[in-house]
Amino acid sequence: MSHVVQLEDIHKTYESGEVPVLAVQGVTLTITGGEFVAIMGASGSGKSTLMNLLGCLDRPTRGRYLLGGTDVSNLDRNELADLRNQKLGFIFQGFNLLSRTTALENVELPMLYGRRHFSTREIRERARQSLDIVGLSNRADHFPSQLSGGQQQRVAIARALINEPQILLADEPTGNLDSKTSVEIMGVFQKLNAQGITVVMVTHELDIAHYCKRNLIMRDGRLVSDTPVVDRLVATEQMQRIVTAETDAKLIA
């Protein structure tokens, strides 16, 4: 499999405060196509910073980042925007949906900014398909404020998927969700990963990391552990178990 992500001694230092913050200090990492990676670590260990670097939202202070073989460090603002638009799908920790804009229109957004031009109908069509993948086509005309947290998260996933990215980057996609909805979301990721999309996600929760194929642990801006997942959980099975447990509980009560 091809190396889709190659980080070589990546550093990120925030100079904004009185003391410079060394958020990421020397991360070297290779991710190949089709991988499903979870990044874990304590709060403030630099996970989000690393994800922003991976998502080409931010530039490293030092080091080299090859995305699909091209060196990202030399690209300008607009070229980075095109990369984000075409190759990457980013799912933010806080959803980051446009309020007072329907789910469908939120999902359409990346297609509007694509370098390829699509007709309004094509865009609409693709957005519906994308919502279908996350099982939300029946909520297309709802506004984010009319959706539950899990549904909003799925709109965000649909938006990340619409341009058929090679890599899906998700910063704590289950951070705000209950365990059942979390498992649902992980099911969506596993399905996408099975279709060949590389998934990199950040999580606090160990059991969520067990749905992935590879676990990385960060501490103070460095990678301290890199292990494959042995007893990997399958979301569909877990979902089944949760549903059974729920019905049992209801029967008893």
């Binding site: 607009n78 925007a81 984000r84 980051n96 949906l97 446009l98 804009t101 900014y113």
Partner: protein
């Protein structure tokens, strides 16, 4: 991004805050409407003034007696009484480019007829007088050259005199008395209304100037000489020639006459209304600028308020230029929409005001084009700064913005 998408995105954004969009556009609506209404009203008033000036006659030069100086003391205009019929006839004979000359005598006299009486302006004029004043006979006819030569006791009368002395109508063929002399009414004039200075032009009895001099005023000196030139471009020359001729006849004495050009009067009158129009337009223009600043203000607030939105757009692949055009197009849509509504409102209100005042409705197309162009320009001008501010945001910074 395709332009159609830019417009779609901008429209969505405007629709999302419809109330604010309307309030923002309101500044432009009122500004544009005010400009159009003010200019139209100004134009209507101007045309009204021009029409009343034109009704005095065309290409007219008037000669008035000047001031008399008695022992070092000057009287006012007309205190000298030096203009004579002979001078009027000499002007007619010796100066080229003249269509008609009417020596004029004016007097207010008590006029009696039908057992009624009325104080009216009795004017002695030449036969050409009605042509000069663009006036026509409604009934009967004007007196003739022969009547002038024989100082005949005939007259034509205005509608006010008809109303006052012949309430039952049919005055032609009957007679009235001025200074106890019977004058036969041979014609009735068409109504002409009030002139620019507000006096009733129909309150008049016109008789041959010869009859006036001989029988009514009993003095040889004219109140004025009315001269009609062939064309407007000859007026200055004729004015000079008349001045020279009269001066020559006075053998180097102080000039005791003035020669006035109707154009001067027209210019003075239209200049006043033009000043009014410009003034009104300028005030309205200020409100248009205020409206534009309103748009800038709202767009600026909107950029700050929508920082996260901009961050999201940038994060999913929008270029800075896409964000710039979006905000710019939003501002332009606001101002063009405001401009269009403003035109409707402006045209409507000027129609209404003109109708209420009985003015001709003169919607100025240049005001409409100007207002539209200006409102679009306002959109670009006042939209650009906030738009550029938005476009230069860093995606990650914008996303972090609370």
């Amino acid at each position: 991004m395709r332009f159609i998408n830019v417009i779609k995105v901008a429209l969505r954004a405007l629709r999302r805050s419809a109330m604010r969009s309307i309030l923002t556009a309101l500044g432009i609506i009122i500004g544009v409407a005010a400009v159009i209404a003010m200019v139209s009203i100004g134009n209507g008033a101007k045309s009204q003034v021009e029409a009343s000036i034109a009704s005095l006659g065309q290409n007219i030069i008037s000669v008035f007696p000047g001031s008399a100086k008695t022992g070092g003391m000057y009287g006012g205009w007309g205190s000298a009484s030096s203009l004579t019929v002979d001078e009027a006839l000499t002007i007619r004979r010796e100066i080229s480019g003249i269509v008609a000359v009417s020596p004029e005598m004016r007097d207010r006299q008590q006029v009696l007829a039908n057992g009624l009486n009325w104080n009216s302006s009795v004017n002695g004029e030449d036969v050409t007088y009605l042509d000069i004043r663009l006036w026509t006979i409604a009934e009967g006819e004007m007196f003739t050259e022969g009547d002038v030569n024989s100082a005949a006791k005939v007259c034509v009368i205005g509608q006010t005199v008809v109303a006052k002395l012949f309430p039952d109508g049919d005055p032609v063929g009957r007679s009235l008395r001025i200074r106890n002399l019977p004058f036969k009414i041979i014609g009735v004039l068409k109504a002409k209304g009030f002139n620019y200075f507000g006096s009733d032009q129909d309150d008049v009895v016109i008789i041959p100037y010869t009859s006036h001099i001989k029988r009514i005023a009993r003095r040889p000196n004219l109140n004025s000489i009315i001269i009609q030139a062939e064309s407007p471009d000859q007026m200055t020359r004729i004015q000079q020639d008349v001045t020279d001729l009269l001066q020559q006849r006075r053998n180097g004495r102080d000039p005791d006459f003035t020669v006035r050009n109707q154009q001067e009067l027209a210019e003075a009158a239209t200049a006043t209304t033009k000043t009014m129009t410009v003034l009104l337009g300028a005030i309205a223009g200020v409100s248009l600028i205020v409206g534009g600043i309103g748009i800038m203000n709202i767009m600026l607030v909107s950029v700050t308020e929508r920082t996260r939105e901009i961050g999201i757009r940038l994060a999913v692949g929008a270029h800075g230029r896409d964000v710039l055009t979006q905000f710019l197009v939003e501002a332009i849509i606001l101002s063009v929409m405001g401009g269009t509504l403003g035109i409707l409102l402006g045209v409507g209100s000027s129609q209404l005001i003109s109708r209420l005042n009985g003015w001709p409705v003169l919607i100025s197309t240049s005001a409409i084009f100007g207002a539209v162009a200006f409102s679009a320009a306002i959109g670009v001008f006042f939209g650009f700064y906030p738009a550029r501010k938005a476009a230069q945001l860093d995606p990650i910074e914008a996303l972090r913005y609370e």
